[in-house]
Symmetry: D2
Subunit: 285 residues, 4 copies
């Protein structure tokens, strides 16, 4: 899966029905759009249809009228479209605590263009990672937690997210449990990295749990936030081989790479509009 | 990638052109076919379009008239179609020498239905693997090599392939170099497994070559036969971690698993019509 | 990790203490034994020492007196030795139900010498896999389960294990829960394959559980039986990438390979005396 | 393989001979050293013995007299020892050109302590990566290439390496062919990352070569520099799955992660004294 440059991305999903593919592809043809990659999937258990198309626009392409026509065409199918222009870069807020490996990795990938996004703010409950953000010239917001008023801190976090117009929130090893309110607010557009192969080793200190069980593989899971902690729809998972000589602190060190890669992969999928929600699961086209 | 049961598979390829996707999907819609999975790819370097669709037939579906209409629709695009019915099982001839791991694996996967194919003959230049074929109730042809008349042996092999109506030939560690004539004859419908990550370690004794180079990974490559030995289009590759303690004979033992899996994967892709030739490369949808 | 041929294997473990390595290596030297591979590990959390040595015997090597001298040398350390001669092939009983992929794989690896073991019996609660065992000329015992007298069936199983002098029992997808009595009896010398990455998806139908969670990786775990179901010390784990298009039945098919390989790897480690129990965990040297 | 903290590392190699293990382990015991991990390997083809021991020192440990006694003990075996104290951090010079992913990765791992080393200089034939080095407070030397006097540039590079007392040189995507003189000078203590699975795709533009061959896996190889370009002893290799949709520029992007990881792994092995030269191959204990 590799995205072609200079293409629009059109995604849609709706209940399974005869004609869903044709509704999209015929419209694209009629508008003179050149399809470069096309993938659709019809889930026979959830009876839901998912489609993702990359296409090049014709001369004189008018986005507004294209959208209008598309909406009309998809109406009887109950299709929800998303149209993403070439060179799209979503505004992203990254939330961190003290561990910096995922932040370092994400900012690096942004800088070299591998993740086409604009990180507009880094928000943390600790001051530690400010220099890293500053070097990348990204504003850093330190909102310490007041144990007596956790909602106050979350309000500040949400304020930044809203003021900055963030389209995606990344929890890059943010070590605080979010309130159900914030989870609901971020449902479907915030990606968290958990340092275990969920649903194994939920909750705190997964590497210590893994050590105690004597597992021979450790892993990481990138998932959307929903209101059930560590239970949101999984986008990507990665794994690393370990052995008896890895104590818990070695697992922590060993796991960093796979956390970074798994999170970056999930974020890439999200930005490229590859991820669809399908109940508690995802479809990744 | 997992194939839905009870579906037809429609594949096509042609030069890149506006309207290729629509030509296929509109026709399917008009015929009342229900698309369950759809994948197309347009190669911007070779300027070639590839499409694969899985669909369920409507009531009263007539294959002949469907094919006729499709041919008409695709004509102006220069599309070459292939239409594969549900429950399709190609007739397969497997060629072997003395090593039996790939044969054992393929016959096992056939028996449990993981590879939907009918192995109609096993052909070998050695008698050794006859009991294994017999146990699976498959005819075994032993054609020893006459060093003074190699073409005679190849003629016998080809005769079996033709008489049995084989649609696919699998070289499951057949340890003889095929003549250019036979290669040409099998071009595009015979799959070979080579026990290295091609193009590394071409030719004889790749594991000994690998040992001498001190590599830390060994691999296997499944590719179509063409007239350039070990150079046919690659379908699948697999890899296994090794270390200094693996002498050449250990690499041979270690490599068996990855050879079996890589070959089985390639055969599965072929049977599911996922593989398209694209010059010296393949597209796997 | 690859075993040298024609070597003895000496393993030992004991509480951590100064001089443990020297006690073993000095004795080997004094006896004229030539060490070809040597690995020791001292667990600083469990304060336990583990050692595994491969060596070639000198001319005139006398096993009995070697053992006696070794026992004396290790006494003050509380060392428990195991000495395994070259060309050792343990007697093995394999337990199965209806799924045959692991059995087919184990018998194949036995036949070609990749797993140096003598399978002396296959025991099952179903008759289905008898032909496969017979083809390999291995006695097959069908002990159906009487729901009103499960202990009777287990007594018969245990009788075969004992009469045949089995040194290792392999549960190759044996789909019955063993009684605590049988578990205790087999503790440390019976290997089970569970079709999930334990501790995730314990219990029944792990692939269905995995489907429902929408995981992007499925796996398998080979572990020793102990009295806590699916909780015995883990020997090996393997993993396979999956996606949204894999329904539960596809996961089952996809998982077969990784189950076979993971189980075979664990059995190989056990036969080569690489696995040590270390509380609820294993050390694999 | 995970290194215990606060331990000394003793490594040695010599021709295969009876008593090599004992010579080392007995001396350690006599000196009161506590062995925490011990690994030896005797190569039956090259007839060479390799040993690596991690140990904790006793009270009153005197390094000088320990070394002297050890040298005496190993003399008759022709053993060459290397003794590495706890908390050892070698001085490292990193050579780069324009691509910064490996440099960014190495400096990050240094900063968080995952690679215990002191990068004392970054040397480049381009000015581009100076800001990155500066942020990590590491001196950056820009020595542009004079096409008419390449040796002059290499002399400057070597001067920095020598003045800084570097014990290890890392070529982190340094895109110039080194002269045979410099190769000889760096033989065995300079690690290069090549962006292919050597010996496949040697030389320039390996990802373009890989694209043309239509491979389904790309990889990276970390190896010691010797006087035969891209042919030095391999330390580590890594691999990544790709498909038809990855054009050469996508392979380049996709390969970055595996290059970083493979190089970091090799550097870690080198610093932990795990790598031994064994002819044109390596032993990694």
């Amino acid at each position: 899966m590799s995205r072609a440059p200079d293409t629009w991305i059109l995604t849609a999903d709706c209940p399974s029905m005869l004609g869903t593919v044709d509704a999209v592809t015929r419209y694209l043809f009629e508008q003179g759009c050149y399809v470069t990659e096309h993938h659709s999937f019809d889930d026979r258990l959830s009876s839901r249809f998912f489609i993702r198309v990359e296409f090049r626009q014709p001369d004189g392409f008018d986005e507004q009228s294209f959208r209008a026509g598309l909406a009309e065409r998809g109406e009887s199918f109950g299709m929800v479209f998303e149209l993403t222009p070439p060179h799209y870069r979503p505004k992203v807020v990254i939330m961190v605590s003290k561990a910096d490996h995922c932040l370092n990795d994400l900012l690096y990938r942004q800088r070299i263009g591998q993740l086409p996004m604009d990180v507009v703010a880094v928000v943390s409950n600790h001051p530690d990672l400010e220099p890293l953000a500053r070097w990348h010239e990204i504003p850093y917001y330190h909102f310490p937690l007041d144990p007596n008023d956790k909602p106050a801190q979350e309000r500040k976090v949400l304020e930044v997210i809203e003021q900055k117009g963030a389209e995606l929130v990344i929890l890059a090893r943010y070590m605080q449990v979010l309130s159900p309110e914030l989870c609901r607010r971020l449902d479907g557009w915030a990606i968290n990295i958990h340092h275990s192969l969920l649903p194994g080793f939920k909750g705190a200190k997964p590497y210590h749990q893994a050590y105690n069980k004597g597992v021979k593989l450790v892993g990481a899971t990138a998932h959307y936030i929903n209101n059930d902690l560590d239970e949101g729809p999984i986008i990507a998972q990665g794994v690393e081989v370990v052995d008896h000589s890895h104590y818990a602190e070695d697992l922590i060190a060993k796991g960093r790479d796979i956390e970074c890669q798994t999170l970056a992969r999930a974020v890439g999928f999200h930005i490229e509009r590859r991820v669809f929600l399908n109940g508690g699961r995802t479809v990744v086209l």
